[in-house]
């Protein structure tokens, strides 16, 4: 039997996937209390070896990563009693004007800045359905936001929150998401209702994430044990030739 290291590489590739899986899960866990956070999932794929050898090598299938889609399932709503905390129940994202263009967020923890503009906690401007900043300088009347995102100051209608939905988004840090151009994201209609005085919790499920941690670790150990066994077999075949 000639030396055959191919299986070791297949196993090593599996080990890398287990580590990536741990990295993705630990980021989900780190953000278990981040409002509006959407968990990511590691999607894997299998790849046959290119046909560079005999047919038997078709037995080898490499586990490879494919992508990490954002799971946009609904998170729980918690009551905060802050007038400018909004949660979206349903689909879509709030639109925020940042120095690097318009980004989208599910984290509706907004404030009024010193000039009366509605901003998020990074100081970026929340946009209305016309794509304009929202300025409410009036401090005498209550701000009320209806389920469809229409903003009233007292009895005056001052516009509507922009809420957009996309077929695929990618995370862009600081609670922002952007349409995923690699997946040819298009805008799709959103069915939503806006809840004033609530924030959406992250949609990370602690129990599932713990299971994934266990899964990643044991999977890694299995690959390790198999590698060790293969190594021992190679050793044995080396020793056969000794006098």
């Amino acid at each position: 039997m000639a030396l055959n290291f191919q299986p070791i590489y297949v196993l090593a590739s599996g080990g890398e996937r287990a580590i990536e899986n741990l990295n993705v899960v630990s980021n989900n866990l780190a953000n278990i209390n981040t409002p509006g956070f959407k968990k990511l999932m590691l999607r894997e794929m299998s790849q046959y070896l290119p046909e560079n050898k005999g047919d038997s090598s078709h037995l080898f299938v490499f586990p490879r990563f494919n992508d990490t889609p954002v799971m946009t399932t609904q998170g729980n709503l918690i009551k905060t009693d802050s007038i400018l905390d909004f949660a979206i129940f349903g689909d879509g994202f709030f639109a925020v004007e940042t120095p690097n263009g318009i980004k989208y967020t599910r984290n509706g923890h907004f404030l009024r800045n010193g000039e009366g503009y509605i901003v998020d906690s990074n100081g970026n401007y929340v946009l209305n359905s016309q794509g304009k900043r929202i300025q409410i300088a009036d401090t005498t009347h209550q701000i009320k936001v209806l389920n469809d995102g229409t903003i009233y100051v007292g009895t005056e209608n001052v516009g509507k929150l922009m809420i957009k939905n996309f077929s695929a988004v990618r995370p862009d840090s600081e609670s922002y998401y952007i349409p995923d151009t690699q997946k040819n994201a298009v805008e799709i209609p959103a069915k939503y209702s806006v809840k004033q005085g609530y924030l959406e919790q992250s949609n990370v499920n602690g129990i599932k994430a713990m299971i994934e941690l266990i899964n990643a670790q044991r999977r890694f150990e299995i690959y390790g044990n198999l590698m060790r066994s293969l190594d021992q077999m190679e050793q044995k075949s080396n020793e056969i030739g000794r006098a």
Partner: protein
């Protein structure tokens, strides 16, 4: 080393800050005019990992790359200015604000601060001051305490001193109490002693009379309790502790996987 170690560490750190904020709220559950804070978090940056790799001819799917997030960070700790409940004290100079607005206080050495805590007293010169001796602004001076029967404060900020002068009951009108509002009260900076100071974020104070234009009305003989809801804080405490614990499991898992690597070569 495995990135998850640091990712989970950032999660533990975030929960520690969360715990600090919650315990500060609980510590001030009986502080007059105290407003609770909430810690808010955001995710950190994501690393794009592309996999150029060779694809076989009979494999049509192409890996599009994965994004590995690096954890979590604190975005802000913001005060929540909801109304606290009113407690009847029957003290003449205990004033609670029902609704929006702050009292203005003169700091020693110049500068102004704002407070919701209306537990005032009279100092030796007759000025209305906070328990720390800082004067209420505009200053209210109540002279000759020997003839004073009572001080009456109306809901709209009028202050009257009722006196007994030689058997005659007289009513003297003193300086009005003004209230101050901010466009973004959450942007105020807390400096301790129940006081807040203005910042760029809060905007400039807007002066007004109590009980007009959306300013709150004054209630004499009442104090505003803190708006800390102890049950809610206890729940937050549980959530913070469990999140801390669960993130430590991420570190343990990464550690065990590194141990596996270490034992590959016997």
């Amino acid at each position: 080393m495995i990135r998850a170690l640091w990712t989970s560490a950032s999660g533990m750190q975030a929960q520690q800050t969360n715990l600090d904020v919650i315990s500060h709220n609980i510590a001030n559950v009986n502080t007059v005019g105290f407003k609770r804070s909430r810690a808010n978090f955001e995710d950190l940056i994501y690393q794009d990992i592309k996999d150029p790799g060779v694809m076989s001819s009979n494999e049509t799917r192409v890996p599009s790359g994965i994004q590995i997030g690096l954890g979590v960070k604190l975005s802000d700790v913001s005060k929540i200015f909801t109304q606290g409940s009113l407690i009847k004290t029957d003290k003449q100079l205990d004033i609670a604000i029902q609704g929006e607005g702050f009292f203005k206080i003169e700091l020693p050495g110049g500068g102004e601060a704002y407070t919701r805590a209306g537990n005032f007293q009279i100092d030796n010169e007759g000025y209305v001051v906070t328990p720390n001796g800082y004067r209420l602004s505009p200053n209210i001076q109540i002279a000759s305490p020997e003839t004073l029967i009572s001080i009456n404060i109306s809901p709209n900020g009028k202050v009257y001193a009722v006196r007994n002068e030689g058997g005659q009951q007289t009513v003297e009108e003193l300086t009005d109490i003004k209230l101050y509002k901010f466009i973004n009260p959450a942007g105020l900076k807390a400096i301790g002693e129940n006081l807040f100071v203005r910042t760029e974020a809060s905007g400039d104070p807007i002066e007004g009379d109590p009980n007009t234009d959306g300013f709150g009305k004054l209630a004499q003989g009442f104090l505003e309790a803190s708006n800390v809801n102890i049950v809610e804080e206890m729940v937050n405490l549980i959530v913070a502790q469990r999140a801390y614990e669960i993130n430590s499991k991420g570190i343990i898992t990464a550690d065990e996987m590194l141990r596996t690597v270490g034992t590959l070569k016997s």
